[in-house]
């Protein structure tokens, strides 16, 4: 039974999961701490097996625009990078949102701002959850907390991206990207054939045949009247995503008096904090947003009703606090604790914060 497991880094798991989920193409540019994604794909040579294209592009800007083209053709295409590289991609991401092109962007975050450090961070939360580029748009954002979730969220992201014709992002960080855990890789799923793409995605640019109307992709329309209607359509879509796609998990909240809100690697650190607190009789529980957008606003609001204190534990200066505050208002006091610039808090450090 144990034979089914392999020991992989989070970044390696992303690459293997991409090959297995019928991904058509990966376009990326190396950057620490995510370089193993492209490295693993290059070693696995999926172009010889599934026919998946793997290309080291000349830049991040080129990568994201290749995703734009691939996604417009109804192909499952993706890129991955780390914080400064993702910053460069923002123009392409907003174009994709505007033109309603599906695709997957993986961000293995490192400390910022600017080129920052190569150590782990969660300081791209605002950029990821607020859109990041110009205009009124959102990307679907999933935050894995284990190597298994790095693998599982690749297919899930593609499913959501194509269901809603919207870019999706896996917001990971240097901890999850670099650590190894045992992981059960998903079963192989075949890449879609051209016929299947034409049937499932009639909107895709598959080459016009038999006189059908051309499928045109653009985020530009010079008529503000038309553009406002398009925006209304996008907003209606985002409302539907907010309603249907919220994902979260809870840990020891049943009898908790103190609630931690944490995502990704911070949630793993906080699990240990909770074990340590409970050894000392402090009843702490946690809610972990799995989708950062859409945010689990209602679930946090409900849980906070019976808490004495809420702690936002993030590896940043407190970016998620805004969303937690919007969820619970003034019904419960909120504190934040985090480290910045590539420093990662330890479980014991957070225990001390909670005890104070």
């Amino acid at each position: 039974m144990e034979e089914e497991y392999v020991l992989l880094k989070g970044n390696e798991a992303i690459a293997h999961a991409a090959i297995r989920c019928g991904c058509d193409g990966f376009f990326g540019y190396p950057i620490t701490p995510q370089s193993e994604v492209l490295e693993t794909l290059s070693l696995e040579k999926p172009w010889e097996t599934t026919g998946m294209v793997v290309l080291q592009a000349e830049s991040e800007v080129a990568s994201i625009n290749m995703i734009y083209g691939g996604g417009a053709s109804g192909k499952r295409v993706m890129t991955s990078s780390s914080s400064p590289g993702i910053a460069l991609m923002q123009e392409g991401i907003t174009y994709m949102a505007g033109a309603e092109i599906p695709g997957l962007i993986v961000n293995v975050q490192r400390g910022g701002p600017g080129l920052g450090t190569i150590q782990p961070s969660q300081s791209d939360y605002n950029q990821a959850t607020r859109g990041g580029g110009n205009g009124d748009y959102n990307t679907i954002v999933l935050a894995p907390a284990s190597v298994q979730e790095m693998a599982d969220f690749v297919d899930l992201s593609f499913e959501l991206a194509f269901k809603y014709r919207n870019p999706a992002m896996i917001l990971s960080d240097g901890v999850i990207g670099q650590m190894m855990e045992k992981v059960k890789l998903p079963p192989f799923k075949a890449r879609l054939t051209r016929e299947q793409i034409e049937e499932r995605y009639p909107w895709a640019a598959t080459g016009r045949r038999s006189g059908r109307t051309p499928n045109i992709f653009t985020s530009l329309d010079l008529s503000p009247v038309v553009m406002e209607e398009h925006n209304k359509h996008l907003q209606a879509k985002y409302a539907e995503i907010r309603e249907k796609e919220v994902r979260y998990s809870t840990y020891k909240t049943e009898d908790a008096e103190i609630l931690i809100v944490a995502f990704g690697s911070a949630s793993r650190i906080c699990k240990k904090t909770i074990e340590l607190c409970r050894e000392q009789g402090i009843k702490v529980g946690m809610i972990r947003p799995i989708t950062l957008w859409p945010f689990p606003t209602v679930a946090i609001r409900e849980l906070a009703k019976r808490m004495k204190q809420v702690f936002c534990i993030e590896i940043n200066a407190g970016q998620m606090v805004q969303d937690v505050r919007l969820a619970i208002g003034d019904t419960c006091p909120i504190s934040h604790y985090g480290r910045m610039g590539g420093m990662v808090p330890t479980p014991e450090e957070i225990v001390n914060v909670i005890k104070q």
Binding site: L7, Q178, M180, E181, S265, E275, T346
Partner: protein, 180 residues
């Protein structure tokens, strides 16, 4: 049972691979494992370390500030991690790279002359497997045969001729480790 292990020393000593092999062998025995490296701008001769957690139950934090076991392979790492051991913990060190001896009285200390032995064996690359052998003697976390199986699984086919030498180093490490 859970064991939280830090392996620390110079880049190029095979620290990260040693941690991976240990984690892989533990996974093959059905345990939960995490392995996380320090991934700064390390290079040969700089400092390197990795944390390995082996547990019967699901592992929470891969990031730790206290350890059950520390394998120390240079002076800088001794200064940094001796104090991070839990009382009752195990410290294993190679005296060849240590100037100041470990001071703690509330831990169990083992000494393994891995560097010296690797030179005697005319195989400096056997260093990390000697240390791993020593660790498994002091603390039987996984069976030796599973370490060899893990090597067979993780090494590319073209390196499989090196497995007997690794097996020998593992056994030798078990011989040369001494409890102080």
């Amino acid at each position: 049972m859970k064991n939280e292990i830090i392996i620390a020393g110079f880049g190029g000593q095979g620290i990260l691979s040693m941690g991976k092999i240990l984690a892989y062998a533990a996974m093959m025995e059905g345990k939960e494992v995490t392995w996380i490296p320090s991934y700064g701008p390390e290079q040969r001769g700089g400092t390197a370390n990795c944390t390995v957690i082996i547990s019967e139950e699901e592992i929470s934090s891969p990031i730790l500030s206290e350890f059950d076991t520390a394998i120390i392979l240079n002076q800088a790492s001794l200064s940094k991690f001796e104090k991070a051991l839990k009382p009752g913990g195990i410290l294993i060190y190679d005296p060849s790279a240590i100037i100041e001896q470990p001071q703690r009285k509330d831990i169990t200390i083992y000494r393994i002359p891995a560097n010296e032995t690797a030179i005697e064996m005319h195989n400096p690359k056997a260093f990390n497997m000697l240390v791993l052998g020593g660790l498994l003697k002091a603390l039987p976390l996984v069976k030796s045969e599973n370490v060899i199986k893990a090597l067979r699984k993780t090494l590319p086919e073209r390196h499989h001729h090196l497995i007997p030498a690794n097996e020998e180093a593992l056994a030798k490490g078990m011989d040369v480790i001494q409890k102080l």
